[in-house]
Assembly symmetry: C2
Homo-oligomer: 167 residues x 2
DNA sequence: ATAAGCTTTCAATAATTATTGAAAGTTTAA
DNA sequence: TTAAACTTTCAATAATTATTGAAAGCTTAT
């Protein structure tokens, strides 16, 4: 497999993965392109390489910047804006985990907490609702906490020994 | 908040969460409904409570059964089929993590491995592609392994102490 | 102040994905 | 064997989501 083919394969795979976890294709592909680029790219570069429109590029770059994954790079003497993405995968994972927790998990946890706190009127169905949503609440909280801790305290002794233990 | 309101809130929240990780709304809502039901439900029951069509119900129940989350329950003397979902959240998490790993993560890992194995022609861009996809490959593999181990070895001593450490 | 060079916005449109409902299929009881 | 009771399938349609491109908005140089 040659460079060009490998590159295209990587970008398209990463793009379709994005769709699966709630990020659109263009956004994931732009990030992928920047991720393997050796230098910052301009909007023109991105539009051309991914064959997408200017508007699409602009909107998705903005979203990536909101996530904190992509940053503007100003090149002295150049009028155009250039973009780069976080290149360290550990840091990338940390940012993504944090954002997803904030945007998706926390709102659900909030509802689970509310629902599991309704007053117990003694009926079987109410007891079941409380019991099951409480169980989901505990699970979600724990999973979320673990995820965040793990990606945050990257490579400290806990993580290192954990990885050894479970690998 | 009364039972009915709490129930609706739970089902709709769980439903929209589904969309976020690649499961459609109806599928997630059916699972949610069964999850808090005290007894198995028939297709009619589900259709009525969620206000969705027969075809939709049938197709999504089938998918949930493919995932191994929902099972048919035959009630003696009854012609209709009844359905229940896995009620233990730990087991539910285990099934979902395993299925998602198989369906989504593994195919990506495969591509990352292929791409990161192209021959190094010495150019800077090829070196970068190899380096970055290799880093993603390692991260994804480790994260996937951790996820699977954690949900599989539920509540063994490692998990218990880990939870204590990071909570 | 004006124009060139670039970015953002957003209504229109395209593409994708979910849902319906009626016909076809299956199983059981009589 | 027939019919009633139920489930599945799938083409048509609806709903949602992504994309375009042209106009409006900035910013900088002259």
């Amino acid at each position: 497999m040659e460079y060009q083919e490998a590159k295209e394969k990587f970008i398209s795979t990463w793009g379709s993965l994005g769709t699966l976890w709630g990020i659109n294709k263009a956004m994931a592909q732009i990030q992928a392109l920047l991720f393997i680029s050796t230098k910052p790219l301009s909007m023109e570069d991105i539009m051309e390489q991914l064959q997408i429109s200017r508007g699409n590029t602009s909107m998705n770059l903005r979203q990536l910047m909101d996530w904190g994954i992509v940053t503007k790079e100003l090149i002295p003497g150049e009028r155009k804006e250039y973009f780069t993405t976080e290149k360290d995968v550990q840091e990338l994972a940390r940012i993504i985990a944090k954002e997803r927790s904030r945007r998706e998990i926390q709102p659900v946890v909030k509802v689970l907490k509310e629902v599991s706190s309704i007053k117990d009127d003694g009926t079987e169905k109410t007891k079941e609702l409380i019991k099951q949503t409480k169980a989901l609440y505990d699970l979600t909280e724990t999973a979320d906490a673990m995820l965040n801790k793990i990606v945050n305290q990257q490579q400290n002794w806990i993580t290192k020994s954990l990885i050894k233990l479970i690998k």
